[in-house]
Assembly symmetry: C2
């Protein structure tokens, strides 16, 4: 039988009585006072029972926990946040949710954050929308920290966070002029590596599917790619560049516009991310009827599982998500715990490595 708590001044009756008539819904919340009364202790002790590390005799804790269980007491973290100025919540602002890579990034963050005792407040920023708006909403909510990925941010908003002591960590993206801690893949180095790889595979004319023109990620990859080819003696006219907007559809459209027929095709196509490379593969195989790698080489960046499937067999550069997420959370932790930030903003750069598959055969 359920413990009778009527004498505690709470109302408890279920939604419907025996006859099936509607009864007012019980919305009374059980507070620490109720538990205290039932356990015969002070409210402060109840609070202590739910605060790891606070001093409380084992017997008392036991008794309190039992009473709490009896009443289905769940501590109100809103109230506790008001005291501690800690919400145990981290905001994750994601720009490019259409890219499976960022879906995986999101998941990795959520899992890792959960394991560290944080909730995740996810914000997606629609392509047209400004992340500044998102950040302001985030700030009302008093999150403990913010992780920003694939999105722009104004200087003013960044300092808004800084003024409030809310750490901001950039993921795979840096903002020129803002001294913010960053974790990112070595995009420039990856681009270079891909240039060398494609050159070594025999390609002499190239096309690059570029991503978000506002993001540094695409820009760095493209620049690294171009530089390594230039170093090999390729003339810049032999490296074509296509705006493809980071998406499958954007890349598909770009391919359609630039390569309506197979004659114009270059020796190799570098998709600055995997989904764009996959779009190129689809266009080449299914519309142009050409073979990869026999007629054209195609390579991507990210190593999303979709590209590894047998239908694509995409040769690409790996971005080690888990390692990057771990680094990012470490930086966030540093920010959370160190009062004055060290003067040099931290930048952690994770290398990317080549994943050989079918669209560029291993030499």
């Amino acid at each position: 039988m359920r413990f009778d708590i009527a004498h505690l001044g709470l109302f408890t009756y279920s939604n419907r009585d025996e006859a099936g008539e509607l009864m007012p819904r019980n919305k009374t919340t059980v507070t620490s006072h109720d538990v205290a009364r039932l356990a015969g202790v002070s409210q402060a002790s109840v609070s202590r029972a739910f605060t790891p590390g606070s001093s409380l005799s084992p017997e008392k804790r036991e008794k309190i926990l039992k009473a709490a269980d009896q009443l289905d007491y769940i501590p109100n973290s809103i109230a506790s946040s008001l005291n501690t100025a800690r919400t145990n919540t981290v905001a994750l602002v994601i720009g490019d949710i259409d890219n499976p890579f960022y879906v995986r990034v999101q998941r990795a963050f959520m899992t890792a954050l959960q394991n560290r005792g944080y909730q995740t407040l996810t914000f997606t920023v629609e392509p047209e929308a400004s992340p500044d708006e998102a950040i302001r909403r985030v700030l009302r909510f008093r999150v403990d920290g913010i992780i920003l990925t694939a999105a722009q941010l104004s200087t003013r908003t960044a300092s808004l966070c800084e003024d409030r002591g809310i750490p901001l960590v950039l993921f795979n993206r840096y903002i020129p002029g803002l001294e913010l801690p960053v974790v990112r893949c070595d995009n420039f180095g990856g681009g270079k590596l891909m240039g060398q790889t494609l050159y070594a595979a025999g390609a002499r004319t190239f096309s690059v599917l570029k991503g978000d023109p506002l993001g540094t990620t695409s820009k760095d990859r493209v620049e690294g790619f171009q530089m390594s080819l230039l170093e090999q003696g390729i003339r810049s006219e032999a490296i074509e560049t296509l705006e493809a907007g980071s998406t499958y559809d954007g890349a598909f459209a770009a391919m359609e516009a630039r390569y309506p027929s197979a004659e114009d095709l270059p020796d190799a196509i570098f998709g600055v991310n995997d989904i764009m490379a996959m779009a190129a593969c689809d266009w080449i195989r299914h519309r142009l009827g050409k073979a990869i790698p026999a007629d054209v080489l195609v390579a991507g960046f990210d190593n999303i599982p979709e590209g590894g499937r047998i239908a694509y067999g995409l040769t690409t550069l790996e971005q080690p998500i888990d390692a990057m997420v771990t680094e990012a959370l470490e930086l966030l932790d540093d920010e959370l715990n160190e009062e004055p930030r060290s003067s040099i903003p931290t930048e952690r750069i994770v290398p990317s490595s080549l994943v050989w598959r079918d669209t560029v055969p291993r030499p």
Copy 2:
């Protein structure tokens, strides 16, 4: 020049002084009291200025807003939640984040919720983990409502929510024995329709790639499919059923195990969701070297964009995400605003429609 707020008793200095020395970081938060002092009004008026619909003279509001802007004041929603017992946050519990369909569902909910002034607290439930645990975490946080998709839930946890007056809406999933509002696709009807379609296309032997055995979604689709075929006179031995776990990899492995060579292939394969159907396509085309639809028919369910790409051209059943999300939010709203819940738990069933593409040609 920035307004001087030193006399307000706040500390404001930047991180580093002129010499570049570290200074204590300013973590002082500006509160409604600070704004009140600056504007020369009561703290209550400041609160009113930020509460739509509360009575306040336009001039006073103006003055307050100006002062707030000057101080970079952002109201603390934690404090306000403590009063109103409303967090303006909805929890979204998602089970199957590996399925692009649910990624889209998540996005649709986040956008819609955002437009209605809610934050979204997303919880992913890892395959092994229990959603009950997730819900308990959610409850500490005092969310206003919960949307549960692709995950199981115990009766005890459901009543925990009910006791607290926190509405729970099930998305594309119902829990036998629990009277909870539900929005779902007509999975059974869709399954039936697909059975008829494949039969009409000439198929007489079938294989079904089944999803999560614990979920009702897969179960209903399979049952509808089987029933319609039985009605057409197909014997049950001609309808094979494969456990494929709702994922691409699971379906690929199931195909590999059951159809190591092309001889055994049935006339038609029904993937209970699109990614499983896509896995079947990949296996058949790239491993078995057979053609679709010439050698086998393949169909899916969901109509994710990936299946519509030229590489697949998957014939499938559409699940209208936006309509379903809208319905779900309507139900949630009803629950949020109606004190006593209407006695019959609401169930909204959205029909699915056939999307003709290449893997099953239109008759």
